[in-house]
C-alpha cells in the first residue's frame, strides 16, 4: 500500500512534470494538421500536408519563428467529418497555434470550427469556396486557395482576348459545388468581355456516359458555330468527359479548371491537345525559380515532385502567416488575423496574394494559363482579370 507521504510526493511530482510540459509547450510554436491521411480525401490533402511539413522544416532550419522552433502535431481525419471535428478539437487542446484542415470545405469545416471556437486560426489547405473563411467558419478561418469562380473568369477573359474565341458552351458537372462555381465565374466574365454563351448543359461526374450531352453539343457546333467548350468538372468525371468529347470527333479548344491540373490523368486521352486550364504552379519547369526550388526540395524529401498544383498554395499561406506572426510578435489568433487582413498584393513565392477582413480567399490573383500537348502541361502566360468578381457570383446567389 502506498503511504500517505509517498502519495503526496507522487502528486507533487506529477504536478511538477505537467508544469514542465506546459512551459515546454509554451516555448514551441505549434502547427496542427487535422487533415485526411487516409481515405479518399487523402488524394486532395496528402501532398499539401507534405508541403506544410516541408515548409516547417525549412522555417526551422532558418531559426524558427519568433526565435522558437515550430512543432507539428498531426491527426488523421480519416476522410470523415465527425472524425474531423474530434481531431480538430484534440489538436487545438494540445496547443495548436494554427490549424491546417482538409482541402474541401465540407470536410475541413468541422475541424476549422473547433479552432474558431478556441480562438485559433485555421486554414483550409485547398478549398475553393468562399465559405471556407469568414462567412462559413468565422473571422479566424482562411483558405490557402483561390475561389473556383476566378478560374472560370480567367479562362473566359483569356479565351476572348488571346484565342479570339467568341461562342462558348458550358458543360457543368453538377455533382459538387466547386465545378458550379468555376462555370459561374466563366458565365460572369465571358459575356462581360463581349462573348456569347450559346448553351449551358449539365452532367454528373459519376454518369457512365455523356453521350446525350455530346449529341446536343454537336448540334450546337453545327447550327450555332460554338467555338470552344468550358468544361467545369473534376477527375475522374472530367477526364472521362474529355475522352468522350475527343472520341466523338469534337476537336474544339476545351477549357478546364484546376480540378484537372496535373498530367497523371493524361492516359485517359491519348494525344490530347488544344486543352487549357489555369494553374498556380507547375511542379516541373515553372517559370519562377523560387517555385522550382520548392518543387525540388519536395522531390528531394519525398522522392517525387507534387502531382498537381494543389500542393503549393499552403506554402504561400504559411509564408504570409509567418510574416503576420513576426509583425505582431505573437501567435495569438485575433492579432495575427488583423495583420493578415491588411495584406494587399503581398508578394509570395506563388505571386501576389490579398486578404481583407471580409474575404479570406483569393479572388483576383493572376494565374498561369497552361496548355496540354505531347503528354505535357506547360505554361503559356500569366493572366489576371480586370474587375472584381461580384458577391452574387462569388456566393452564387441570383441563380448562378
Amino acid at each position: 500500500m502506498i503511504s500517505r507521504r509517498s502519495l503526496i510526493a507522487l502528486t507533487y511530482g506529477a504536478f511538477a512534470l505537467s508544469t514542465a510540459t506546459q512551459v515546454h509547450a509554451a516555448e514551441d510554436i505549434t502547427i496542427g494538421m487535422a487533415v485526411a491521411y487516409s481515405g479518399w480525401v487523402e488524394a486532395y490533402d496528402g501532398e499539401a500536408a507534405k508541403m506544410a511539413q516541408l515548409w516547417v522544416e525549412q522555417a526551422n532550419a532558418k531559426g524558427g519563428l519568433l526565435g522558437k522552433p515550430i512543432k507539428i502535431i498531426i491527426g488523421d481525419t480519416k476522410s470523415d467529418r465527425v472524425e474531423g471535428a474530434k481531431v480538430g478539437q484534440e489538436l487545438v487542446s494540445k496547443g495548436a497555434n494554427l490549424l491546417l484542415v482538409s482541402a474541401d470545405y465540407d470536410f475541413g469545416a468541422p475541424a476549422a470550427l473547433q479552432a474558431q471556437k478556441a480562438g485559433v486560426i485555421s486554414v483550409f489547405v485547398g478549398a475553393s469556396d468562399p465559405k471556407a473563411g469568414v462567412l462559413g467558419v468565422g473571422p479566424l478561418s482562411f483558405t490557402a486557395n483561390n475561389a473556383g469562380q476566378l478560374e472560370g473568369a480567367i479562362m473566359a477573359d483569356w479565351g476572348f482576348q488571346k484565342k479570339g474565341l467568341r461562342k462558348g458552351y458550358t458543360l457543368v458537372d453538377e455533382a459538387i459545388e466547386y465545378t458550379k462555381s468555376v462555370c459561374a465565374g466563366y458565365e460572369w466574365k465571358f459575356p462581360q468581355v463581349g462573348g456569347t454563351i450559346v448553351e449551358r448543359d449539365t452532367f454528373k461526374g459519376a454518369d457512365p456516359t455523356i453521350s446525350s450531352q455530346i449529341t446536343r453539343l454537336t448540334n450546337s457546333i453545327r447550327s450555332d458555330g460554338v467555338d470552344h467548350v468550358m468544361l467545369c468538372s473534376v477527375n475522374p468525371g472530367a477526364a472521362s468527359a474529355v475522352r468522350q468529347l475527343r472520341a466523338a470527333g469534337i476537336n474544339l479548344p476545351i477549357f478546364g479548371s484546376t480540378g484537372m491540373d496535373g498530367t497523371y490523368w493524361l492516359a485517359s486521352v491519348p494525344g490530347l491537345k488544344d486543352f487549357y486550364l489555369p494553374s498556380q504552379a507547375l511542379p516541373e519547369n515553372d517559370r519562377r525559380p523560387a517555385v522550382n526550388a520548392v518543387s525540388s526540395a519536395f522531390k528531394e524529401k519525398y522522392g517525387a515532385a507534387p502531382s498537381t498544383q494543389y500542393a503549393y498554395p499552403i506554402y504561400a499561406f504559411l509564408d504570409m502567416w509567418a510574416k503576420a506572426v513576426t509583425a505582431a510578435n505573437t501567435t495569438e489568433g485575433a492579432e495575427v488575423v488583423a495583420g493578415l487582413n491588411t495584406f494587399k498584393d503581398e508578394s509570395t513565392v506563388l505571386g501576389p496574394r490579398t486578404f481583407t477582413p471580409k474575404l479570406h480567399i483569393q479572388i483576383d490573383m493572376p494565374m498561369f494559363i497552361t496548355s496540354y500537348a505531347d503528354n505535357k502541361q506547360s505554361a503559356i502566360e500569366e493572366w489576371r482579370i480586370s474587375g472584381t468578381i461580384p458577391n452574387n457570383v462569388l456566393y452564387r446567389t441570383k441563380g448562378n
Binding site: 454528373k204 456516359t209 475522374p236 492516359a267 486521352v269 502531382s307
Partner: protein, 304 residues
C-alpha cells in the same frame, strides 16, 4: 430528326450497360434472394485489375496492355474469382439468413472491397489508355455512331443469348432455373445447392468483368467508387423489371438507360439537374401500377 436517332442510339447503348449490370444482380437474387450491392465493386475490381497495383498518381497498364483476348480472359477470371471468394468468405455463411441480413452483408462486402482497392491503388482517380483505338465514329448517312456503342450493344445481346441458351439447354442451366423457382425443392430432387450458387456468382462475375472492360474503354478513368452509380440504377432496373425474373432485369436495364438518356436529352435546361429525380418518379409510378414489377417472377410476388 437526326439528333433523335442519335439519342435513340445513345439510349440503347446506355441501356445495354445497365441491362448487363442488372442481369448480374438479377441472377444472384433469383437464386439466393441476395440483393448484391457489392456487384458494382466487382466491376470496379475488373477495372483496376487492368493496371499495376501502385499508389502512384499515374497508372501503368499491366493486363490492359495484353492482347485483347488475353486481357478479356484474365479480367474475366480475376473478377470471377473475386466474386466466388465473396461467396466463400461471406455469403456462404449466411445461407439461412434473411434477405435483409444478406443485403446488409453485401454492403459490408462493398465497403471492404472499396477500401482494399483504396489501400492498394491510392485514393486519387487514375487515367488509363485502354483500347483507345475503339473510340472512333462510324458514319451511317448523316448519323455518326461511336463504334464502342455498337460493340456494347452487340456484346450485350450476344451475352444475353448465350445466357439464355445456357439456362435452357444445359444441365446446370436447368438446375439453376429449378433452384431459382424453389431452392429447397430443387435440393430435394438432387440439385447441389453450392454448385448452383457458385455458378450464379461465377456468371455474375463474368458479366461484371464485361461491364468493366466496356466501361473503362469508354471513360478511360478509374476511381474507387466507379461501380456504385451503375449498381444503384441497375438495382432500380431489377426492381421495375420484376425481381427474380431475368428477362425483367434486362427489360428494366434498357428502360432505365433509355429513360435517363431521353430525360437528359429533352428536359428543359433548368430541370436537367433533376434528371434522376424525374427518373425515380417514373420508377415510383411504375411500381404503383405494377407493384411486382413489369414482368413479375411467379415465386417472388409475395416477397417484394
Amino acid at each position: 430528326m437526326i439528333s433523335f436517332f442519335q439519342n435513340v442510339i445513345d439510349a440503347v447503348a446506355l441501356g445495354s450497360i445497365y441491362a448487363l449490370v442488372a442481369l448480374g444482380i438479377g441472377l444472384i437474387f433469383g437464386i439466393l434472394r441476395l440483393i448484391n450491392f457489392a456487384h458494382g465493386d466487382m466491376i470496379t475490381v475488373g477495372c483496376y485489375a487492368l493496371i499495376v497495383p501502385s499508389t502512384d498518381a499515374a497508372a501503368q497498364l499491366l493486363i490492359g496492355s495484353w492482347t485483347p483476348l488475353a486481357a478479356i480472359a484474365a479480367i474475366a477470371i480475376i473478377v470471377l474469382l473475386v466474386a466466388l471468394s465473396t461467396d466463400a468468405l461471406v455469403f456462404k455463411h449466411l445461407r439461412r439468413a434473411s434477405p435483409t441480413t444478406l443485403m446488409i452483408a453485401s454492403f459490408a462486402v462493398s465497403y471492404v472491397t472499396q477500401n482494399a482497392l483504396l489501400m492498394a491503388y491510392g485514393a486519387r482517380a487514375k487515367g488509363v489508355d485502354f483500347w483507345s483505338g475503339v473510340n472512333v465514329q462510324i458514319a451511317i448517312g448523316e448519323l455518326r455512331v461511336p463504334l464502342l456503342q455498337l460493340i456494347t450493344v452487340a456484346v450485350t445481346f450476344a451475352l444475353m443469348m448465350l445466357l439464355n441458351l445456357f439456362l435452357r439447354y444445359t444441365r446446370y442451366g436447368i438446375q439453376m432455373r429449378a433452384a431459382a423457382e424453389d431452392f429447397r425443392m430443387a435440393q430435394y430432387i438432387g440439385v447441389r445447392g453450392n454448385i448452383v450458387i457458385g455458378l450464379a456468382f461465377a456468371i455474375s462475375g463474368m458479366l461484371a468483368a464485361t461491364v468493366s472492360l466496356l466501361y473503362v474503354t469508354q471513360s478511360g478513368s478509374l476511381s474507387i467508387t466507379m461501380g456504385v452509380p451503375l449498381v444503384l440504377f441497375a438495382f432500380v432496373a431489377v426492381v421495375i423489371g420484376g425481381m427474380g425474373n431475368l428477362l425483367g432485369s434486362v427489360v428494366g436495364g434498357f428502360l432505365i438507360g433509355i429513360l435517363l438518356t431521353m430525360l437528359q436529352a429533352y428536359l428543359p435546361p433548368d430541370l436537367r439537374a433533376f434528371r434522376d429525380a424525374f427518373a425515380f418518379a417514373f420508377v415510383i409510378l411504375v411500381l404503383l401500377v405494377r407493384p411486382a414489377g413489369l414482368i413479375p417472377a411467379r415465386n417472388t410476388i409475395e416477397r417484394v
